[in-house]
């Protein structure tokens, strides 16, 4: 049985339309205009126990809203969800003891006290057995390499160290499901890498289920076999990371290194020339035509080296986000209507 089941989940907000200018602002005091914003539109999702799933999407796509719905912070407008058999927004204590939510910079720790004091409180409110608590605490501190920081006031820690402390706080009660919202936001490359390594190790060892949102492709590539792309409140793609390129990118990038001294002017016949750094040239060729075009190129020119690559994942996803944004604005009559009503 899947550990998370989401069906037709929808969340819309009523947003106050602030008007420009003083007169209209005054009018707004008496007569407010609201606009419905659909943050999540009918999401279906099934996650098996032990999966590590990444939510990718541009800002405002509905990733965080989905995590908030699954952790019971907000109620949906319609649709259903079940996590470990619980309805999240009923906020039963039995459910709350079995998952954790880490939201980037939101501080769960007591600012002026050492983190270990906050952990003592966690032990108590989650009812963790003292021996078990001590064992988990030292295990997590070892893995994250923070033993010497446990006794230091949280406000004296760096952002990266604080993030580690937050993760520890979230894992002390050994949750079966972990929701991570931008766990590496604002961290430097080394700190990002440390957190990734830790999450990867911990998840593989404990086989817990993790849902993660991130902007960093590196997080996703390092951690998740399964990627869910959300844009404009709905799921655009659900599958493997490499599958994104297969599905959404219709072309490959071919790099040719020529033996010729002078650049011929008919390179455009092979494909779209992305850039040249003679004797090298990068050329984009539609996927289906790669063999034929390449054969032709090798026949017409003296070529020393060839490589055929998929376009970078970031580019594919950026293109995808762009097209979704544009598509919905052009095609969605409702959006156009509401925009017209606003003006």
């Amino acid at each position: 049985m899947p550990i998370i089941e989401v069906s037709q989940l929808t969340k819309s907000y009523r947003v106050y339309q602030k008007r420009e200018g003083l007169m209209d602002s005054v009018r707004g005091l008496f007569h407010r205009e609201y606009r419905e914003v659909e943050a999540v539109r009918g999401i279906d999702l099934t996650v098996q126990q032990g999966e590590f799933v990444a939510f990718l999407g541009p800002n405002g796509a509905g990733k965080t809203t989905t995590l908030k719905l699954l952790s019971g912070v907000i109620n949906p407008t319609s649709g259903s969800a079940s996590v470990m058999g619980f309805v999240p927004w009923e906020r039963k204590n039995e459910y709350r003891r079995r998952f954790a939510l880490v939201m980037g910079q939101k501080n769960q720790l007591w600012w002026d006290l050492p983190a270990q004091e906050s952990y003592r409180l966690h032990q108590q409110i989650y009812g963790i057995d003292p021996a078990e608590f001590t064992r988990r605490l030292s295990e997590l501190a070892d893995l994250l390499d923070v033993q010497r920081l446990l006794g230091q006031p949280v406000r004296e820690l760096s952002l990266g160290e604080r993030m580690k402390m937050e993760l520890m706080a979230a894992l002390l009660h050994s949750p079966d499901v972990l929701f991570l919202d931008e766990p590496t936001i604002g961290l430097d490359v080394i700190a990002q890498h440390n957190i990734q390594q830790f999450l990867k190790y911990y998840q593989e060892k404990r086989k817990i289920t993790i849902l993660l949102t991130s902007h960093y492709m590196k997080d996703v590539a390092a951690l998740c076999k399964r990627v869910v792309i959300i844009a404009d409140g709905s799921i655009q793609y659900d599958g493997s990371l490499s599958g994104i390129v297969d599905k959404f990118s219709g072309s490959k990038v071919v790099t040719l290194q020529f033996a010729e001294d002078v650049q011929p002017d008919n390179l455009g016949l092979i494909g779209e020339v992305l850039d040249t750094n003679w004797p090298k040239a990068r050329i984009r060729i539609p996927r289906a035509e790669v063999p034929a075009r390449l054969t032709q190129a090798l026949r017409d020119h003296a070529v020393v080296d060839v490589s055929v690559e998929d376009p970078p994942l970031e580019d594919v996803i950026a293109d995808l986000f762009h097209s979704v944004g544009r598509g919905s604005r052009d095609a969605d009559p409702e959006a156009t209507a509401s925009q017209a009503a606003e003006t």
């Binding site: 907000y13 908030k68 907000i74 109620n75 709350r96 003891r97 939510l101 769960q108 004091e117 009812g127």
Partner: protein, 293 residues
């Protein structure tokens, strides 16, 4: 409250309270530096009051003696002699030490605005209970240190307590009125903070509340000084439990045959504010989670 039936559940609950209390206490002690000075400063207005009332009483007794009234009869204002008046202000200091809740309402509103309130939705811990324990810890930490300046001031002013210590029953009622005053102050201000679920900014509301409470609690002057009709109304409002009532009990200004009824009224107001706070929290959470966090 549903899982509190089993004794094991209760034990766990009490342990949790204890841990929250202990940690909040530790947190407070980080700032012990400014305690002593801050406390002494709180008594400065008393000096002004002593001068002010001694001038008022002097002018009243001056006009009375020129009107050829009997000597010996001490001048009173609203049933308070001069010494009583000073003793009253000193006692309201104690009452307000229990009932004032600096930063509680604005803190709750800030937590709502900044989204920190999420924590209490995600973790199995109750916001109101948590804040109450935190507040108890803050008060305990503050007054274990502040008891020294308090004792000093009261020792210096012992001459104003002309009737000496009250009866044990009255003293008991006084302590009970202080404890309930603390709880009324907490649940009242917590309720104001919960307004933050509907309006993001509660500062101006809080200011209005402070202003009214300054008058209506008897912090500014004893409520018996008010004209009769107004006093009748104000005596029926809950604000007097924040300052006037405990002081009046201690100084024997509440007749003994009315004491029990008065205490019951206070308990009634306490129950009202507990329910109000709980109800607002439940409604606020429903609105918050409906609105979008």
């Amino acid at each position: 409250m549903s899982d509190a039936v089993a004794p094991a559940g209760w034990r766990h609950r009490v342990q949790t309270w204890w841990v929250i209390l202990r940690i909040a206490l530790e947190e407070r002690l980080v700032y012990r530096g400014d305690f002593a000075l801050g406390t002494l400063m709180r008594f400065l207005p008393i000096v002004t009051q002593i001068f002010l009332w001694s001038a008022i009483f002097a002018s009243i007794s001056g006009s009375q003696s020129s009107g050829a009234q009997g000597e010996g009869e001490p001048t009173t204002v609203g049933g308070f002699r001069f010494a009583d008046m000073v003793a009253y202000y000193l006692m309201t200091m104690i009452a307000r030490a229990f009932s004032s809740m600096p930063g509680l309402a604005s803190g709750i509103a800030l937590q709502i605005r900044e989204g920190e309130i999420k924590r209490y939705l995600v973790q199995p811990v109750d916001l109101v209970g948590f804040l109450l324990l935190q507040r108890i810890a803050h008060k305990t930490a503050y007054y274990t240190v502040a008891i020294l300046p308090f004792a000093l001031v009261f020792f210096l002013c012992r001459g104003y307590f002309v009737d000496g210590w009250p009866e044990p029953t009255v003293l008991l009622a006084f302590v009970a009125s202080l404890v309930m005053g603390f709880l009324i102050g907490f649940f009242l201000e917590a309720s104001i903070g919960m307004i933050g679920f509907w309006f993001l900014e509660v500062t101006s509301l809080l200011f209005i509340y402070m202003l009214f409470s300054f008058f209506l609690s008897g912090h500014m002057f004893p409520l018996t000084l008010l004209p009769d009709q107004i006093e009748w109304v104000v005596q029926r409002l809950p604000f007097k439990y924040l300052a006037y009532f405990p002081a009046a009990v201690f100084l024997g200004k509440v007749p003994e045959d009315e004491l029990a009824t008065e205490m019951l009224w206070q308990a009634g107001w306490l129950v009202f504010f507990i329910l109000l706070c709980r109800w607002m929290y439940a409604r606020g959470i429903r609105r918050y989670s409906g609105f979008g966090g």
